[in-house]
């Protein structure tokens, strides 16, 4: 498997790829002590800034630094512009799909997707039926996970359309690289990413309810025990908007207000980093202490915009994923520019039989899982793990999908002894408002353990700065 992995920096015969040439020359000229010192500096600064994430399942309040690696992941301009075109197309189709299934359901009537798969999905929200959202946009912020496989081609691994996170690391990684190696940015023409918060704010303002000319935008966080709280605080601060918790908001006269020291202030757009289930205890989970009672009714009256909209989870569900290329053809009349990973749906008896016979070769995922929890990576699993997983799959096959194990591309990282390749992925952030905006690159996550394919930060992944070179 290792032999077939595509390396971002060097070709199979060891030559440096052209877009890495300037960086490689610079790297070769750096004394080892300098690099070691810079690594320490980076650790120190990240610690001091408190850029951490909370880890579920460990002692309460456990906070960890996300490891940062100093070797950038570089994409040439031409390759990026193809990816960006594919991302735009895909997110347009996904938004069209969401608009459709909450209105006329043409794609179901045309028989492209089994209606049951959509309408019985726990992520499908009947509350959204017939509701018009500003600009027809549901997923304002999408974090689409891409991987590059053996021959160098990209695949979409998943479309994160609920509350995708990680963009703060993209921004902090860039800031760190510029701080550590300013001379490097003089040598290489790297497309900037620092305008992401501005762009996001612009997008959020353009989707304000009709008739609101100067909207008040707020970021709704579950609070400081949430694993991504740092990012919520960071983005709110960067955009200069209030970071609110459910208890800061209340509903009165069909409006949402926040409690301020100067009295109630109306809120028009809520960038919510809280799952659907917790948004409104009157409509969804009654035990939610994090939401705002009555929020759904204001939303349905069109007096507040939620970004992302309620009910987007049905479109990034792993059981719907196999149909995304079909959505592109159906809504846009175009051929998909980005590949889907071939996917076995275990609710189908044929697929199930095949997968059970080939577990050691496949990746099996829970349909509703995320964050790298609840998945089996066949080639890396022990016999016992495979058998345990087999039992779970047999018990409830409809809860799982399976995919061939892709040999994710690698990129060199600094390790204890020099430099070694590790597997990576890429999460670009696609912003949809009046138009689609993508900051060049995205977040590159890296599996720090040798041979590991799991890049999630909760599972020991790290991050890298991602460069798109300008022509």
């Amino acid at each position: 498997m290792k032999a077939t992995a595509y390396d971002e920096m060097t070709t199979a015969d060891g030559a440096v790829r052209p877009h890495y040439a300037a960086f490689a020359a610079w790297l070769a000229s750096q004394p080892a002590e300098t690099l070691a010192r810079k690594r320490e500096e980076a650790d120190l600064v990240f610690h001091r800034l408190g850029i951490t994430f909370a880890v579920y399942g460990e002692a309460e309040g456990t906070e960890r630094l996300i490891p940062f690696d100093m070797i950038p992941r570089i994409l040439p301009a031409a390759e990026w512009s193809q990816l960006a075109a594919g991302l735009r197309q895909r997110v347009r189709a996904l938004n069209a799909f969401l608009g459709d299934i909450y209105h006329d359901q043409e794609i179901l009537k045309a028989g492209h997707i089994p209606a049951m798969q959509v309408l019985q999905n726990v992520q499908y929200r009947p509350e959204m039926q017939g509701l018009d959202v500003p600009g027809g946009i549901y997923a304002h912020i999408a974090g689409v996970d891409l991987v590059r496989a053996g021959a160098g081609e990209f695949y979409v691994l998943e479309d994160n359309l609920r509350v995708p996170s990680g963009v703060s690391y993209m921004l902090e990684d860039r800031r760190m690289m510029m701080r550590l190696f300013p001379d490097l940015f003089a040598r290489c023409r790297v497309a900037p990413v620092e305008h992401y918060p501005d762009t996001l704010q612009e997008v959020l303002r353009t989707v304000a309810p009709i008739g609101v000319s100067n909207p008040t935008v707020a970021l709704l966080t579950p609070g400081h025990f949430n694993s991504a709280y740092f990012e919520h605080a960071f983005l709110a601060q960067q955009m200069g908007i209030e970071l609110v918790e459910g208890q800061d908001l209340f509903v009165a006269d069909e409006q949402v207000f926040m409690r301020t020291t100067q009295g109630p202030r109306q809120v028009d757009v809520i960038y919510r980093r809280l799952d659907d289930d917790f948004l409104d205890p009157l409509a969804f989970r009654q035990d939610s202490m994090l939401g705002v009672p009555g929020l759904l009714s204001v939303y349905r009256a069109g007096r507040v915009t939620l970004a992302n909209a309620i009910g987007t989870g049905v479109a990034d569900d792993k059981s719907i994923y196999p149909y995304v290329p079909e959505m592109v053809r159906f809504y846009l009349g175009e051929e998909p520019l980005l590949n889907n990973v071939p996917t076995y749906m275990l609710r189908k008896p044929d697929d199930l039989a095949y997968v059970l016979d080939h577990l050691p070769e496949l990746v099996v995922k829970e349909v509703h899982g995320s964050g790298g929890y609840g998945m089996l990576v066949g080639p890396a699993a022990t016999k016992q793990e495979i058998e345990d997983f087999r039992a779970r799959v047999v018990a409830a096959p409809e809860k799982y999908i399976a995919q061939p194990t892709l040999s994710l591309s690698t990129c060199p990282i600094f390790v204890e002894q020099g430099i070694a390749p590790r597997h990576i992925d890429l999460r670009p952030f696609v912003l949809s408002g009046r138009e689609i905006r993508i900051v060049p690159g995205g977040l590159t996550r890296v599996a720090l353990r040798e041979g590991s394919l799991v890049v999630n930060s909760s599972q020991g992944g790290g991050t890298k700065d991602t460069w798109v070179l300008e022509d």
Partner: protein, 314 residues
């Protein structure tokens, strides 16, 4: 500013100030008890400390008798007691953590560091002569927090609400310390004007860092009347009630909103009574009655501020 943010800032400052005042109060209690070793005044000093610091029932349930060791452990390092020094420093840190983005990194680090040190500290060191050092440390950390607050924070609402918390807490605490100890000293001592009396009153002065101040201001022997005047009416004494109300009224002016007029008016009346009051009149009406009324009014102001600006406490 969000009401919740202001609330956290206000309580962060209040708890920091409360921890400092507890340390000051316990310090004076210990000094006084050393003067009285073995006599009756000893126990009553520790009982007074308990009264000042909060409800007595939970202490009784855990320790029974009031003993110096019991009170010290309950009010310093008992994490089950939210009114202990460690409890206050934990609450200060929790409030700071919730609004970390609003604080300067220096301030957050200072408050967090204080908490980590006290959490990992060894209560055994407290026994005996270690206590004085611990109280000094708590005071020092509070000075540091305050200095970092003033030295690094933008002069906006965030700072104003934090300062409001500091001064309301200090007013409350100074009044309670003076009330409880003066009542005991004025009632119980046999040799008024004698040597023991002198040491008791000077210990009380030291609890608000005012021993030298007293000398400088009055250049005279220490009398209860003057001590009370210094605690209550001297606007140039940083921990006096008058000084605290100077700050509170000014801060209320700065943060005022459409609903807060009545709160400002009440603060103004209280301030005027200190600004124009005379200590002889206060003594004539009874010092205890005056301080009891004052503490009640501070409670009322706190409640009104919570309703006008912060998160109402029901």
């Amino acid at each position: 500013m969000l009401s919740r943010t202001a609330d956290h800032l206000y309580w962060m400052a209040r708890y920091t100030e409360r921890a400092e005042n507890l340390a000051r109060m316990l310090d004076v209690t210990q000094r006084m008890s050393l003067l009285h070793a073995g006599s009756e005044g000893n126990e009553s000093g520790w009982a007074s400390a308990l009264t000042i610091a909060g409800p007595e029932a939970p202490y009784r349930a855990k320790h029974g008798e009031v003993t110096p060791a019991g009170v010290m452990s309950w009010l310093c390092f008992d994490a089950d007691n939210p009114s202990s020094i460690i409890g206050c420093l934990r609450s200060a840190r929790e409030n700071a953590h919730a609004v970390r983005g609003t604080l300067t990194s220096e301030l957050w680090e200072t408050i967090n560091d204080t908490w980590l040190k006290v959490r990992d500290g060894d209560p055994a060191v407290l026994a005996g002569s270690g206590a004085g050092e611990f109280f000094d440390w708590v005071k020092f950390r509070s000075h540091l927090s305050r200095g970092v607050t003033i030295g690094t924070m933008l002069q906006d609402e965030a700072l104003w609400f934090a300062r409001l918390g500091t001064y309301l807490e200090r007013a409350d605490s100074t009044a309670r310390i003076l009330d409880v100890h003066s009542r005991r000293l004025l009632a119980g001592v046999s040799d008024v004007g004698g040597a023991s009396d002198y040491y008791q009153w000077s210990a009380l002065l030291r609890s608000v860092s005012a021993f030298e101040v007293y000398r400088r201001v009055y250049r005279d022997r220490i009398t209860p009347l003057r001590v009370a005047e210094l605690f209550i009416l001297r606007a140039d004494m940083p921990r006096s009630l008058h000084k605290c109300l100077n700050e509170v009224t000014e801060l209320l002016d700065m943060v005022g909103n459409r609903h807060s007029g009545e709160t400002a008016r009440r603060a103004g009346i209280l301030h005027a009574s200190l600004h124009f009051g005379r200590i002889e009149d206060i003594f004539a009406g009874g010092l205890h009655a005056f301080l009891g009324d004052f503490v009640g009014r501070i409670y009322d102001l706190s409640d009104r501020i919570a309703n006008d600006f912060l998160i109402p406490k029901h």
